[in-house]
Symmetry: C3
Subunit: 163 residues, 3 copies
């Protein structure tokens, strides 16, 4: 292999890593607009078919249960009152065919006294490469109300790289 | 063309796509600091000269009207009380010479009872490539107070790719 | 040098710039999860050993003082009540071996009346390339309560590029 060919191969690996990071970002940034607009399919398809969304208020397994959550009466009431699931950019660590993104989100909703922050949530997104793209295998979300579990989830995402 | 030259041409296209995505991110991340600091020119020049900023509270056409909004008495009162237009990372879709970014923003402002969330807003940014960079051609922003229009705008940004 | 070799060298520089931008993003996105989980070491090591964190409430110099802040009684009370330091994506400008990122953050914390926005803060992150990575040399943070100093800090980050 010539020097140029070797450099090109190395560059291709670096570009792949950048593409992976931005693909994970695209995935995360689609979640908020999807749930706030009631786009149930757009939300569910961010997960693999049997993906898990494990929230302190309940656990959803697979597309059907995520679709049902978005279509549920409580969620529909929330979006009719006006709500925004605002997500920070994720702290993203790619490791070959899997990745972890860690971030926080807040749920702001309209009510009689104006907009209020209803929740602040710690999120751990465990992702897998699928068909050249990325999907969520498991998202774990815990209310940041002082519980150790929520802090542990954030600490794990920013600790030494051998996660 | 040799194999290496073909691979290099393909890599160049992939790098261009990454650069486009990050350039759109740079554009979006400049908006909040610009309006919160009263940097009228820095805000206006994110748009093309005849760009449109269509908000539920009024429509601005061209740099002069965007400059006037930042310099207006209501906006100046807001920044003197302390305010933050906090923007999520955008969900970005590049399509050649145009792009669409979808996100939500919140307006937090100081007042007698401390900081309050005054608005949560759905945003659709329609962007065009100009002189090798990117500018906003039209930004449409709608209050997330339950109105269908705001939800539609978010749904459109995360739906199937044929937008 | 052949045309292909020249193109490869140019591509390598463009990929380096993209990597720098994403490395700065990784640094910024680690801060919130680190302080909200009380991960003192993970927070401190975002700075160079003698890095400065200059906040309106006090100035910290070097890792020991940043570690002490995270471990302090006031900060520990905050995380036990539940808190989220939510950061916007940064507006990032790389200039060779240094970079500046500008963004806003909010501190949301739990209390008897639910979650409240305690602070909105303007941030200027001055970064340096170290051992192939990036670290914070100085972060300047000012409360957005109308003080000119906070606005100036934001304006500087989005003004004409000759900063």
């Amino acid at each position: 292999m010539t020097d140029t060919a070797a450099l090109v191969a190395q560059l291709a690996a670096r570009v792949q890593h950048l593409e992976d990071t931005l693909a994970v970002t695209e995935l995360l940034t689609a979640y908020g607009p999807a749930v706030d607009s009631g786009s149930a399919e757009a939300a569910a398809r961010l997960w693999i078919e049997d993906g898990v969304y494990d929230v302190d208020t309940g656990i959803m397994r697979g597309h059907a249960e995520i679709l049902a959550m978005v279509r549920s009466a409580p969620h529909q009431r929330l979006i009719r009152a006006g709500c925004a699931h605002i997500l920070e950019p994720g702290h993203i660590r790619i490791d070959g065919e899997t990745a972890v993104a860690t971030n926080k989100s807040q749920l702001i909703a309209g009510g009689p006294d104006g907009f209020r922050v209803l929740r602040i949530t710690a999120n751990r997104w465990e992702l897998v490469r699928v068909d050249g793209g990325w999907k969520v295998a498991r998202r774990t979300s815990r209310l940041l109300d002082g519980r150790a579990e929520a802090r542990d989830l954030l600490a794990r995402g920013v600790g030494p790289a051998q996660w």
